[in-house]
Symmetry: C2
Subunit: 400 residues, 2 copies
Amino acid sequence: MAIVGDTEPTGAPAADQAVVALEQADNPSSPVVRFGPDRPLLLDSGKRLNHLQIAYQTYGTLNEARSNAILLCHALTGDQHACNRHPVTGKPGWWTEMVGPGKAIDTDRYFIICTNVLGGCMGTTGPATTDPETGEPYGLGLPVITVGDMVRAQAMLLDQLGIETLFCVAGGSMGGMQVLQWAATYPERVFSALPIAAGARHSSQNIAFHEVGRQAVMADPEWRGGRYLLDDTSPRKGLAVARMAAHVTYLSEQALHRKFGRNLQDRDKPTFGFDADFQIESYLRHQGMTFVERFDANSYLYLTRAMDYFDLAEDYGGRLANAFRGSKTRFCVVSFTSDWLFPTVENKAVVRALNAAGASVSFVEIDTDRGHDAFLLNEPEMFDTIRGFLSSAAYARGIA
Amino acid sequence: MAIVGDTEPTGAPAADQAVVALEQADNPSSPVVRFGPDRPLLLDSGKRLNHLQIAYQTYGTLNEARSNAILLCHALTGDQHACNRHPVTGKPGWWTEMVGPGKAIDTDRYFIICTNVLGGCMGTTGPATTDPETGEPYGLGLPVITVGDMVRAQAMLLDQLGIETLFCVAGGSMGGMQVLQWAATYPERVFSALPIAAGARHSSQNIAFHEVGRQAVMADPEWRGGRYLLDDTSPRKGLAVARMAAHVTYLSEQALHRKFGRNLQDRDKPTFGFDADFQIESYLRHQGMTFVERFDANSYLYLTRAMDYFDLAEDYGGRLANAFRGSKTRFCVVSFTSDWLFPTVENKAVVRALNAAGASVSFVEIDTDRGHDAFLLNEPEMFDTIRGFLSSAAYARGIA
């Protein structure tokens, strides 16, 4: 049986995006697989999830050999809608530059699966999901999850879909962390791996910025100890501040200078006030305001926490190479010159460990001034690199 | 008449620091000079301040020729207490490493003046000061001020003290901005100038981080549109988040890695929760909590805004060199290799402009991993540089 993807999500974006977004947590406009207490997910914290639902999108067609499946792993604020119209915002998916017919990740050639991550808010179990045992949203009752937990949940979905081996696992940022975790946990299921703008651990500075964001959310009285959904409210202002702080780290100083500089907003002289006077202020406020229309604040806490806890070497006796010993997976590591969140040095640490483990690895540093978010943008050198890597791997894998 | 300084502020720190801090706004434990409507301060915004008070500290002795006065300009969250015990926190002043008997800025040799900046909250007119015309705190009723306004207010104080020429103006970060502004506005009053870790303008990224902080303050419902003092409350949580975000930018990734790394807080394993699990989280929370005990939230808005507006070239026809044409001031510009808030490239832009203007300038980049805050720390190479620069200038100035 060939699985055919390209499912456009059902439902149109409504006027009140926040309401639509909240509905997605339980009833996403994507296919969903549900697991019950007979198939609990054991978590790294030692706790277990007796109920698990996973929402996903697919694009392209699984071949008869089931050998052409690529799993896309999304970043902190992404979701399963990689290259279809987003059911809440109505905008194109987050990786439409990269994924599609004839694109670097070619949906005419490969079968693409993208799941909403565990802890997310677009249909996979997360803090906004209704706990079947209480009938209320999990909120902070959901156990804290890790990148390892996310990957084991994805593996359960693939089992269900009958996909034993992935031709490739690909993703940027937190998605890249999942790629590395996949390669470490299930080396025999991963033919090739493409971690982009990622690292094998979260740095002290990255933890610091995440903590600022979490404190901004939790400082908002509307957060109500995490129980805001029960009161039909949400910490919108706090979450917007968290998003603004994080967004600065996704860009580079050079890109900000080029895009905004010190340009004022529709005027020649400053207003000498506290409204958005500079274009960069207005841009950031817009980023904050639109984000809260589509994202759950508790999800933000859980996913930043999962990233903070990520330290792959720590799980393998303090030596990163041990995570990849004997691996037959082909790796391509991609970094960006102007990324200061996951700078090249962190990506190179992964490359060094892969080399030390005797794994097959190529490494490309893309010259760009667009910072961490370059993995989402039109970067032709990145596309050429990935297209070439996948074509060569496809040949080795016998994919037509 | 020789002015002798070293005034220890009166009053001991009390249990409720926030109350003590608030009292400082009107009745500081420092000397104060007050100006009335007969001597209004004209502001860059076009508005005027009919009442102005300036709080200051002095250290050392003014010589008979009145030629050995050094003005210290403090940074965003500093104040006039450069090297005495702080009347609110009870801790040593912010520049005790640099300033004192026998130190690089030697109080045995020079007469040091440090004023609380206009817009501050330690006794110089700022939003927490009582407006004599209403009997209530200015709050957002205070006109927005600029670095130029700060400097003109300082000049009024010096006139009052009978100090015509400054042997040196020195300061780091926002203090360095004031130094550059002094040299541009009053070249004949500044014999030497020492801007440290500063730039001639605030970059887009710096404006972005400030805007995050302001939004954090204004998102706190206790901010109450800036009128919180009237309600005997304050936006403590929002200000703490703002401070946390800013504090990350004052350090370097390397310093954070060296000091905290991914070390957990007093335990071997993560708690899988949202308490401060990593040492860096606990450190940041502490920074946020202690800051709100001594600083006014509206002051934070005003001073960050003044920094954002700073663009010295803009005031001189778009060409920075024009700000320094014909200047006889001797400059020493100091930057730090790991400072990403005011990176060396911004400091060098000042040096280039000074060279283009034919000014006397030396430039030193200090090799350190401590980031922007290095100007406050024990950096022997910085001390040697500044000691040498001042000694040479003192010889030229005829100071014994």
